[in-house]
């Protein structure tokens, strides 16, 4: 029998799947390559390559509008992720590892609501609500943006914290109580330190989500409150210069760094 030449049968192999997967990974990264390359273009046009230069990074850095928008993005994201993380930590403590109580489903639904409702719907609803408040109070400050961002960041901060809590061994707190720790010292010395990686991951996710938001910011912002993404969205309507590529590349780099941090934070110490 001529079986000797046959390829060995690999249980987990599916013909064509690795090819499709490689195509998929290629497609995920390929479009980002020209984006980054053209940010170093010396020419005025995003399509015509005229040599390497940092001119558009300099231009973006010198652009007061970009600078102001970047600062605004960071401020809003910092406040929103800070508040969202605190609120989400409390909510996670109140909904995890407890006996089931009435209303728990409603609480889950409310917390996860921003994940289920399309952003454009929330954006429009906030536009309507804030327009009324703006008219009634005359206040046009950043509070609207921060509250709106805090709200949609809560579920993103909540999920990793909750996952961390659920993976935590409850006997550790029992052991603390056995070793003469009252409830508050137990929380401070045992529960909180063990939750910390989840809290960090949650805070960073919230920060990234807030930093990336376009739609809700676009509808909620008052005049002159552009964040970096809404500024870029506005620019895409005009003649596009490699300045946009430069800003995009920097944001891309920030995302990669943050996600890498989250990746390693959630991987370590889970065992």
């Amino acid at each position: 029998m001529a079986v000797a030449r046959q390829k060995p049968f690999v249980i987990r192999h599916m013909p064509g799947f690795p090819t499709l997967a490689i195509v998929c990974f290629f497609a995920l990264y390929m479009p980002l390559v020209p984006l980054v390359i053209y940010s170093f273009n010396a020419g005025n046009n995003i399509a015509l390559w005229e040599g390497i230069s940092f001119r558009w990074y300099v231009a973006a850095w010198d652009n007061e509008l970009v600078k102001a928008a970047a600062v605004r993005s960071l401020v809003v994201a910092s406040f929103a992720s800070f508040f969202a993380t605190i609120l989400a930590t409390m909510a996670a403590l109140g909904t995890t590892r407890t006996r089931a109580y009435r209303g728990q489903t409603t609480i889950y639904a409310l917390i996860n609501q921003p994940l289920m409702v399309p952003e454009i719907v929330t954006a429009v609803a906030l536009l309507i609500l804030f327009a009324m408040i703006k008219e009634a109070t005359g206040y046009h400050g950043y509070a609207y943006l921060i509250i709106a961002h805090t709200a949609f960041c809560i579920p993103f901060a909540y999920l990793p914290i909750r996952a961390r809590l659920e993976g935590m061994d409850k006997t550790l707190e029992t052991a603390a109580a056995d070793l003469y720790a009252r409830p508050w010292p137990t929380f401070r010395r045992v529960t909180l330190p063990l939750m910390l990686p989840g809290i960090f991951a949650g805070a960073m996710l919230a920060f990234v989500i807030s930093l990336d938001d376009v739609v809700i910011t676009e509808f909620v912002k008052s005049a002159g409150q552009d964040t970096l993404p809404t500024y870029m969205l506005g620019q895409l309507r005009r003649v596009i210069t490699p300045e946009i590529n430069a800003i995009s590349s920097v944001l891309l780099l920030i995302s990669v760094i943050l996600v890498t941090l989250i990746f390693f934070l959630s991987r370590n110490k889970t065992a």
Binding site: T171, T174, A175, A176, A177, Y180, A181
Partner: protein, 366 residues
């Protein structure tokens, strides 16, 4: 050993524990009472789900009894929180704080009790020496082996010098060799510290080797309390006899009640005189329990108590187990120590006799 006249370290009085309510209620403990003496190595032994861990958790204060009282010497501690009881636990999975070092774990309780820093430091050093872990003081607990974690868990629970130490199957996660070492180690620690140990296990061998006294539990009840040899030689109930060691159970009828001895007729027809226990049942239907190693086998049927045909023999190193089919078609196991250089005594199909020593036959109420 139970001391005379002293107040017991722990008294459990008429304790009930019921989980859930109404339809799905589970009775974990049913009117359990037991007294554990000072400086005793006391073991709660039973199959999983028998209520032994629940009883331990009630003493630790992690659960509240549904009814009954728990006393620590003369103090009622039934409703005290775990952090108000001078009782510490070694958990089954150790429950070491993973974000702390060995030292920080051991110091935890002392810090909670707000002991001065110098005293904490001294105690930690003493404890590390006690469990022979001095060199691992600054290690993180996830960087040490299972056996070492076990020692840290012991040191942590002993550091505040509790009146009673509770151990919830602490050896179950260790491999055989390590478990044997830790059994000796635990005995040593108990001896050196003079603390009352309450040990929970489902391993009968572990219970018999380590304990001063054993309480055998099943289905929420304590069936028998006593020193290991008493539990082994004189089981009070069929469950105890069955759970601890191997036992042959022979159904029998009492045909004559004398002063010290009782005559019983076995299913297979033989009549046997056995010593009457303390509380002889009123009814005549009983069970005789016979340990397989407490019989002798002989070829001639002359003076043998029982007779049968050898079904098979299983060689297990030190011993050989012979399974003998009796006249009523039931199987009887006999364990015979293998003599050096001697082959198997009997062949399958041989007719042989079983000699019983009446002193080693235990009469059980059925």
């Amino acid at each position: 050993m139970p001391a005379n006249g002293e107040v017991p370290a722990i008294r459990v009085e008429e304790v009930d524990k019921i989980f859930g309510n109404d339809a799905d209620r589970v009775v974990a403990l049913n009117r359990v009472s037991v007294a554990i003496e000072e400086n005793e190595f006391f073991t709660l032994l039973g199959p999983s789900g028998c209520g032994k861990t629940t009883l331990l958790r009630l003493i630790a204060g992690f659960e509240q009894p549904t009814a009954g009282r728990i006393l620590l010497q003369d103090d009622d501690i039934t409703r005290l929180a775990p952090y108000d009881r001078p009782v510490n636990t070694v958990f089954q999975n150790y429950a070491l704080f993973p974000h702390m070092t060995v030292e920080q774990n051991i110091a935890f309780a002392l810090e909670m009790l707000e002991k001065p820093a110098a005293e904490i430091d001294q105690t930690v050093t003493d404890m590390l020496r006690l469990v022979r872990m001095e060199q691992l003081r600054d290690r993180r607990v996830d960087q040490i082996s299972g056996g070492q974690q076990q020692r840290v868990a012991l040191a942590r629970a002993l550091a505040p010098h509790p009146r009673v130490l509770l151990l919830d199957e602490p050896l179950s996660a260790l491999d055989y060799k390590l478990r044997k070492d830790m059994q000796i180690e635990l005995k040593r620690l108990q001896h050196e510290t003079g603390i009352t140990f309450i040990f929970v296990t489902h391993d009968q061998e572990e219970a018999l080797t380590m304990s001063d006294r054993v309480a055998v539990m099943n289905d929420g009840n304590i069936l028998q309390v006593g020193p290991p040899h008493e539990i082994y030689d004189h089981p009070s109930e069929r469950f105890v006899a069955d759970f601890i060691g191997d036992t042959n159970f022979l159904p029998a009828d009492i045909i004559e009640r004398g002063g010290d001895a009782v005559s019983c007729r076995l299913e297979s027809g033989e009549v046997l005189a056995v010593p009457a226990g303390v509380d002889l049942p009123d009814h005549d239907r009983v069970t005789l329990a016979i340990r397989p190693e407490q019989v002798t086998l002989c070829e001639t049927a002359g003076d043998a108590t029982l007779q049968g045909t050898l079904q098979d023999a299983v060689y297990i190193g030190t011993d050989t187990h012979y399974r003998i089919r009796l006249a009523d078609d039931s199987l009887f196991t006999a364990r015979v120590q293998n003599a050096r250089g001697r082959a198997q005594l009997f062949e399958s199909g041989d007719r042989l006799g079983i000699r019983l020593d009446p002193e080693h036959v235990q009469l059980l109420k059925d």
